[in-house]
């Protein structure tokens, strides 16, 4: 029983470590981000919202407008509905918002962001309405990837724990539901 438990533990622990390492690798290399921030569902400017989170009306952020495959720093890449997002983008400032000019506006070759976030309310919760996630379309396959990884890691960790208790010789008996 203990030997079988040890084999079970080692096999499932190895699989768990492999899956967990792959998950961390996917995060570190930006694979998860690329699946999430995949394409755009509206016309506007792809941006990295972290770069101008502290901007205010008095001290707005000036983003350089231009085509690029990757966003580094204060950049705004014009995108059309359905375009793939450039690497590093985590939100799209809709053209309509830019045209309104209340939160962001175009000045020459710069996109001026004045209100990067505002307080809104939904279902009894107040939240910061930011540009992050706005206009972003996730790769539909990321759903399958997420669920497969979640179930896979759950299975490996569950059987690993079962193997561990068997290996340690803990006698886990089946519950007698109708006995005493």
């Amino acid at each position: 029983m203990k030997t079988r438990g040890a084999i079970k533990f080692v096999v499932w622990a190895a699989l768990a470590v492999a899956l967990c390492s792959y998950a961390l690798y996917a995060h570190e290399t930006g694979k998860i981000d690329q699946m999430y921030y995949h394409s755009t569902k509206l016309d506007g400017y792809a941006v990295n919202t972290k770069e101008f989170f502290n901007a205010t009306k008095e001290n707005p952020a000036l983003l350089q407008i231009g085509k690029a495959d990757e966003i580094n720093g204060l950049m705004a890449v014009p995108v059309k509905k359905g375009d793939l997002l450039p690497k590093g983008a985590n939100g799209v400032i809709e053209k309509k918002i830019v045209d309104e000019g209340k939160r962001a506006k175009v000045q020459g070759d710069k996109l001026v962001v004045m209100v990067p976030w505002q307080i809104k309310e939904s279902k009894g919760f107040k939240y910061r309405d930011r540009f992050i996630h706005k206009g972003v379309k996730t790769d539909p396959w990321s759903g399958v990837w997420n669920v497969a990884m979640t179930i896979g890691i759950g299975l490996c960790l569950g059987f690993m724990a079962e193997g561990l208790t068997d290996m340690l010789g803990w006698k886990i008996k089946k519950i007698e539901h109708f006995g005493h």
Binding site: Y36, G143, M149, G154, I175
Partner: protein, 355 residues
């Protein structure tokens, strides 16, 4: 600290591991996903509401796999009931989501959602609490009379009514030792699925009482069987939420690491107790969640003027998570003390097993 680039927040890893652990203990013990506890916790950590809800749905699926593996080893799963219910649950969840979209379109979503949550949970709490107290009294009386006490004691006669419904096909659930029309199980799945889909939760806190009081399984079998249902309904919910872009996988990952330890403890803890102990903790979980939802309902109905109510509701929900976890740990500690012949409070012996 870890930068959750998808959710757009930097949160300490230990907070997510701790949340996973705590909800793992509670979920493994009473057979719920714990969505009504995790979503507010993630919102407090700074996740946007939609991201909190989607991330929670995904974490529930993974955590339920871990708990189900241990419950399978403990013999707490009736596969006949679980598989009969799956189709009904999926259909129900889809209907519930569509009902939610409809109420949202007519502008009733917030109030209807909260009012329905409060009504359902309050009703379930009252029935479960009254029945469990009667069972506890019966256990105490039998123990004093020197009778042998079974693992499960129920005083509800509702299951007998449902088991007598003679609509084919009739199925025989060997593990649960009951014979019942498959349609009863399917309809329970649809009904609990509608509520789960409408309320945006896994539905365990509705399905466990339904399995006990409608289908007639023991509390232990209801917990294990429900966790299998949650893998299916949670997995489906996780897929939908992921495709909508509402899931931060790395947050799910860290919560599952915590849940691995918590779910083991919660699942194994069921072997120390009798059925009514599980139902007691389920009912406390229901009333605490009801109070949290009621506070948010009052906040919405008062037009959001009493801001402190929304804050207290979130704090209350988080407190509930910790309270239930500590309650289960204490119960197991008392059970071990009782097994070793040491003194325990008077209410404990009827609720725990001695060997």
């Amino acid at each position: 600290m870890f930068d959750f680039t998808v959710a757009g927040h930097v949160v300490p890893i230990f907070l997510l591991v701790l949340t996973g652990f705590t909800v793992g203990v509670v979920g493994g013990f009473i057979g719920v996903g714990g969505g009504y506890m995790v979503t507010p916790a993630l919102i407090v950590f700074g996740f946007p509401g939609y991201m909190a809800s989607g991330t929670d749905a995904c974490h529930i699926a993974g955590k339920s796999v871990i708990s189900s593996i241990r419950h399978r080893q403990l013999g707490n799963i009736d596969w006949t009931i679980a598989l009969s219910m799956v189709g009904g649950t999926m259909l129900g969840v889809e209907l519930g989501v569509r009902l939610l979209v409809y109420t949202k379109n007519i502008g009733l979503s917030g109030v209807v959602l909260l009012a329905a949550s409060v009504a359902v949970m309050l009703g379930l709490f009252i029935y479960t609490q009254v029945e469990t107290q009667k069972s506890h009294k019966k256990l105490t009386a039998d123990r004093k009379a020197g009778k042998e006490i079974g693992r499960e004691v129920k005083v509800s006669t509702l299951p007998l009514f449902f088991q007598r419904i003679p609509i084919m096909p009739i199925i025989k659930a060997r593990k649960a030792r009951l014979v019942i029309s498959m349609w009863v199980i399917v309809i329970v799945g649809v009904f609990t699925g509608v509520l789960a889909g409408f309320l945006g939760v896994g539905g365990g806190f509705i399905r466990v009482p339904a399995l006990v009081y409608v289908v007639g399984t023991t509390s232990h079998l209801a917990v294990g069987t429900d966790l299998v249902e949650i893998i299916v309904s949670g997995g489906y919910g996780a897929l939908r939420q992921s495709m909508e872009g509402n899931v931060d996988f790395m947050a799910v990952f860290f919560m599952i690491i915590g849940a691995m330890m918590g779910a083991q403890f919660g699942s194994l803890a069921t072997s120390f107790v009798r059925g009514p102990a599980i139902r007691y903790i389920l009912s406390y979980s229901l009333i605490l969640a009801t109070v949290g939802a009621a506070m948010r309902l009052v906040y919405v109905l008062t037009g959001g003027t009493a801001e402190w109510l929304a804050f207290i509701a979130v704090v209350f929900t988080l407190g509930e998570m910790v309270f239930l976890c500590l309650f289960i740990c204490t119960l197991v500690w008392f059970a071990v003390r009782h097994q070793n012949g040491k003194t325990v409070p008077e209410w404990v012996p009827p609720l725990v097993v001695t060997a």
